[in-house]
Amino acid sequence: MTTNRREFLKIAGVSTLSLIAPAIVCPAWAKDKIIPVSNSPEALSPSKALTAKRWAMAIDASKCPADCVDCIAACHATHNVPGFGNPKDEVKWIWQEKFAAAFPNESHAYLRESLQKQQLPVLCNHCANPPCVRVCPTKATFQRHDGIVMMDYHRCIGCRLCMAACPYGARSMNYRDPRPFIARINPDYPTRTKGVVEKCNFCQERLAKGLGPACVVACKEKALVFGDMENPQSEIRLLLEKRFNLLRRASLGTKPQIYYIL
């Protein structure tokens, strides 16, 4: 074997190895469930806590009166969501979008205009396969056994990868100290600090006390229905069996858990 051939083979062999290496440490296989021990339903649930195998929400926006923002007001007041007064660093847990904007793949130019213009409440979908949980380097975003995708504000390093990863724009960053911008502080829920991300938590703190989510309770029209998707007799399951409904950007495989009734 000439020196040149030997050198070539050496280079080729080692280069191949070095290219295979990244596949070996590819994170895809490492996809674990990411459920902290302390979040098992038993650990979280005092006797009267509301529990489920998979929490989900159905939204019948046709019931929403024009200009009604009761759900938004209730949620943001309950969770000390700051009002920075600037869309660029706005923090929002639940807000409104037009059908055409929330469902770009399902809408087209000849769709009924009233439907296209219909305002829908949008929020974190508590995806069953959440990209935000997969990308978070420190498990600051994690998923509980009951499907709720939660934030541990203390572990958030503020890398904002989850904001780029969420296909629904459901996450907001506190680019400033939010405390001076909270209209009235609710002492039952923690305020956040600068540099952490936040989003809807399906009112896990209220569920633990046996209360339904603040938005669901605040909606006088009963447009929001919250329940256990794994229980065939739950109100949400019975409703979804009867009415046509859609998931947002379902083709991405994130398995959103907010069902929109149309």
Partner: protein, 414 residues
């Protein structure tokens, strides 16, 4: 190591400091300039993150959360991986023609990765928490976790490799060089993976980016080696020896090959975007004929691919003036390639109405001067460390290429 074998460590430090101080007025002006740039960047970053709040200091916001500083970080780590890969051709994979550039390249790879870490440290909102929770609350499904961890390992391997190279322990250095290549390529492909695995971002999603990143790392690495070798030669004030000239000619051929590969990938990326749905179409439209057209056609294509390729071809690997301009243009342009790659995937809003091709609806991003200062801080560190390195290690004039190869051969062959 730039001082005689018998010298003591304090003696070596004194020698090195003497060489820096007597580097000449031009050298000292540049060194001071880079030091000022570095300090200004650090001050701006610390002030922005910890006092003012990044949203008001930096141009990032809710809809474009990743921008200039992430792009700068990518720029530096891409350069570092490229330098590591190109230098490894010589001292890891045994191609002796690449040996003369090895030491400088490894040092540059170390410097650029530290510059990258410096910039990301001033970009992430809670850098101290990161140091804690990256280890105590690791998420093994996160590409960013793998990237960070592997790059840390890479940095350690590179540092050991550099020390061993300077001590002329080529065989063990080659082993650490191999570990650096493994860690570097793995980390780098995970960097691509961060974006490539975001299925909700059409423009990033897919296997394109990890491949593109590796190839463009080689391109960046080659450009860095050409530029810094020629500058170092000017600093030394002596001509290049024959081995170095031969190496440089080879690196410039490699650079041309990589430019061609990156151009090929870019062309196909653009072509596939024409059929990939509205988000991709709007992004493509905006890139080639919208507000980013100048950045794309002039800064990316002309300065980064076409002109450098022509200049390198013309130089035939010997006209160093042309090579200097080509590599400088490439580095300048690659920076904008990174910026566009990061920002362009975020300009189409997640909430937008189909059929409304209103470019006024697109998100826009412009960096603030505080953000730009932090990016310059990274460049300042890179320039400062390079200039110091050249004098401290005496322009790597102790390189005994022929001996090193002989030694390497003697060591590796029974």
């Amino acid at each position: 190591m730039g001082c005689s074998e018998e010298s003591t460590f304090p003696g070596c430090v004194k020698d090195a400091a003497g060489r820096v101080i007597h580097g000449g007025p031009v050298y000292l002006v540049f060194l001071s300039f880079f030091i000022v740039l570095f300090l200004a960047g650090v001050v701006s970053g610390v002030y922005s993150l910890f006092i003012e709040g990044s949203r008001h200091a930096y141009g990032t916001y809710r809809e474009i959360p990743l921008a200039l500083l992430i792009a700068t970080y990518i720029f530096f780590v891409v350069a570092s991986t490229g330098l590591c890969l190109v230098s490894s051709i010589g001292h890891v994979f045994g191609n002796r023609d690449f040996l003369p550039i090895a030491k400088r390249s490894v040092l540059l790879a170390l410097i650029t990765i530290i510059s990258g870490f410096l910039v990301i440290g001033l970009e992430i909102e809670n850098p101290f928490r990161m140091m804690l929770y990256l280890f105590t609350s690791a998420n093994l499904s996160s590409n960013i976790w793998w990237m960070g961890t592997l790059y840390m390992l890479y940095m350690i391997f590179m540092a050991v490799e550099f020390i061993l190279l300077m001590r002329e322990s080529h065989r063990i250095a080659a082993f650490f060089g191999f570990l650096s290549v493994l860690a570097g390529v793995s980390a780098h492909s995970n960097l691509g993976g961060i974006f490539a695995m975001l299925s909700g971002r059409d423009v990033w999603y897919g296997p394109f980016l990890p491949v593109y990143f590796i190839l463009s790392a080689m391109m960046t690495g080659s450009a860095f080696i050409i530029l810094f070798s020629i500058v170092a030669q000017k600093l030394r004030g002596q001509g290049m020896n024959e081995d170095e000239q031969k190496s440089l000619a080879l690196v410039s051929k490699l650079a041309m090959l990589m430019i061609a590969a990156v151009a090929f990938l870019t062309i196909w990326k653009m072509i596939t975007m024409t059929t990939g749905g509205e988000t991709r179409l709007i992004t493509l439209h905006e890139t080639i004929s919208g507000s980013h057209a100048f950045s794309f056609w002039v800064l990316e294509i002309a300065c980064g691919l076409v002109i450098p390729f022509a200049l390198l071809l013309w130089s035939r690997g010997t006209k160093r003036g042309l090579m200097l301009v080509a590599s400088g243009l490439m580095i300048f342009s690659i920076f904008f390639m990174r910026l566009d790659l990061v920002v362009m995937a975020q300009i189409v809003p997640l909430y937008w109405e189909l059929g409304v091709r209103e470019f006024s609806q697109l998100h826009t991003y412009s960096p603030t001067w505080k953000e730009i200062l932090v990016a310059f801080g990274g460049i300042g560190f890179c320039g400062m460390a390079f200039l110091l390195g050249e004098k401290v290690f005496n322009g790597f004039s102790g390189i005994r290429c022929a001996n090193a190869v002989e030694n390497g051969k003697a060591e590796s062959e029974p």
